[in-house]
Amino acid sequence: MNAKRSVGRFFMENAVVIIFLLITVLAVKPSGLSLTYIIQEMLTRLGRNSFLVLALLLPIYAGMGLNFGMTLGAMAGQIGLIFAINWNIMGVPGIVFAALIGTPISIFMGWICGVVLNKAKGREMVTGYILAYFINGIYQFVVLYLMGSLIPIRSPAILLSRGYGIRNTLNLEGVRQSLDNLLMSRVGPFSLPMATYLVVGVLCLFVIWFKKTKLGQDMRAVGHNMAVADMAGIPVDRTRIIAIIISTVLACYGQIIFLQNMGNVATYNAHDQTSFFAVAAILVGGASVRKATIPNVFIGVVLLHLLFVVSPRAGQNLFDSAMIGEFFRQFIGYGVIALSLVLYAWRSRKEALRAREGLRGISLGAAGTTDPASTRLRGGEGGPAT
């Protein structure tokens, strides 16, 4: 009976990963793609996307849920790249330059995001999502109207023909795959962008190290229970703002790494789906709103992108329409987020109920009364972000 319950519990805890894995494995065969091609795609996409997904970890540790506000960092990264192209700075120095330009912008954006999210405790995810739309409006204004008029842009290649505003699509030829090709090594039929992996590896080490620092411990304490952390003397609001700032800066760098791999940037909508796909990836990897680890990131990137690679071809082969596969891809992306959030809410409610029952049993046993204060504390401020 116990074994049956533990198997059931395992399936419930890993429902998203299991469902996703099943769908993906079923789609591999009909796609007709060779294993070599699929593995090469995964290796490339691991380098391209992992940094962005890793940027989500710190806000989760701080109990702020999935940082949909990372879009702000992506915008900062794009602004950095626009300036790098404008001044014709190429190669790895071009990427470094874009990152340096993007850093202060993303710090500022992260600070704004953190302050706003502190005003919306418990509703961080939806607030971050809407905030990204708001800042997107400002970004569009800056890039479409101020660049070329108020902000000097010297390269006519990136300006709209009217003399101000940046073109819809920018060619990143100067920095295209410069990080990937810096230390490209071949293992059998596969090309491995070692420099990109190295950068991602350094970020993983940073996350591991950061968790052990005083600030990292504070973040975990805040994430566990804000009220208790506050009583322990931890500056809760400041810690939360720092978590969001670091996440936004990392998202800025992640977007630069992503775009240098792609080789071009859709100026006005490249950042739109950044947070969406990063969140989908980490959830597919088995993370939840309150718990995420580094392996979740890599499992998620591989699984999500495996589906992205195989589903359009599978759709084309099975239904004679590539659009079905594309639809399937979108459907799965949103579906995973929805399923994960629903499962998380359901589990949280169940755990709260179990805790309340247990507490009631103890209280009744001890004094014959329920202790409403301790019940409030358990389900209080440390509750899930929505």
């Binding site: 014709n88 700075i89 190669g91 071009g94 330059f97 340096l100 850093t103 100067g174 003397g233 400041r238």
Partner: protein, 174 residues
């Protein structure tokens, strides 16, 4: 409790740290700018305008470690380079003569012209800024941008139609 230590010494230390960080930031940005600045180098194998040097018929030119360009008399090709210090290697195909020269490009120069005949003849400067010829579109040539051709007395077309400026809908036929 805000978790931050105060006091003049802490303040001074904090300011020093911020100053160092800012200086490092500016330094890195400047370094990235200087080392990553891209230049378009036009490799020119044409007669000099003043007739001082003649084009060479058949040379292989390579800049830094890029693929060698094969140029004949009157040819011009381009190489995109990064940074300021470069090396050009020239080989005259017929004679087999090889010349290797180091040169620096000005940081502000976007497009520069490297004259192979001048370099081979030892005439300075063999690298000079290149200014593309500006084509001035006359009013008559630009007439296509207005609707004056199809509509006598018409107004120039704008890129965007602003709200309120939409053309009035035609009245429905009776």
């Amino acid at each position: 409790m805000n978790g931050r230590a105060t006091g003049p010494r802490t303040f001074a230390r904090r300011m020093i740290v911020r100053g160092v960080l800012f200086a490092a930031f500016v330094g890195f940005a400047a370094l990235a700018f200087v080392t990553g600045k891209g230049h378009t180098l036009l490799i020119d194998n044409k007669d000099a305008e003043d007739g001082s040097v003649q084009a060479i018929d058949g040379v292989m030119v390579s800049v830094d470690r890029q693929e060698a360009l094969e140029l004949y008399s009157g040819d011009r090709d381009k190489a995109v380079v990064m940074g300021q210090a470069h090396t050009v290697s020239i080989e005259i195909i017929a004679e087999g003569t090889k010349v290797r020269k180091k040169f620096r490009l000005p940081i502000g120069g976007e497009m520069l012209l490297l004259s192979v005949p001048k370099l081979m003849a030892g005439l300075e400067p063999w690298v000079s800024p290149f200014v593309p010829v500006q084509v001035v579109v006359s009013e008559e040539e630009g007439a296509g941008e207005s609707n004056a051709f199809t509509s006598p007395g018409g107004t120039p077309q704008t890129m965007m139609v602003l709200p309120g400026d939409e053309p009035a809908p035609e009245p429905p036929p009776d």
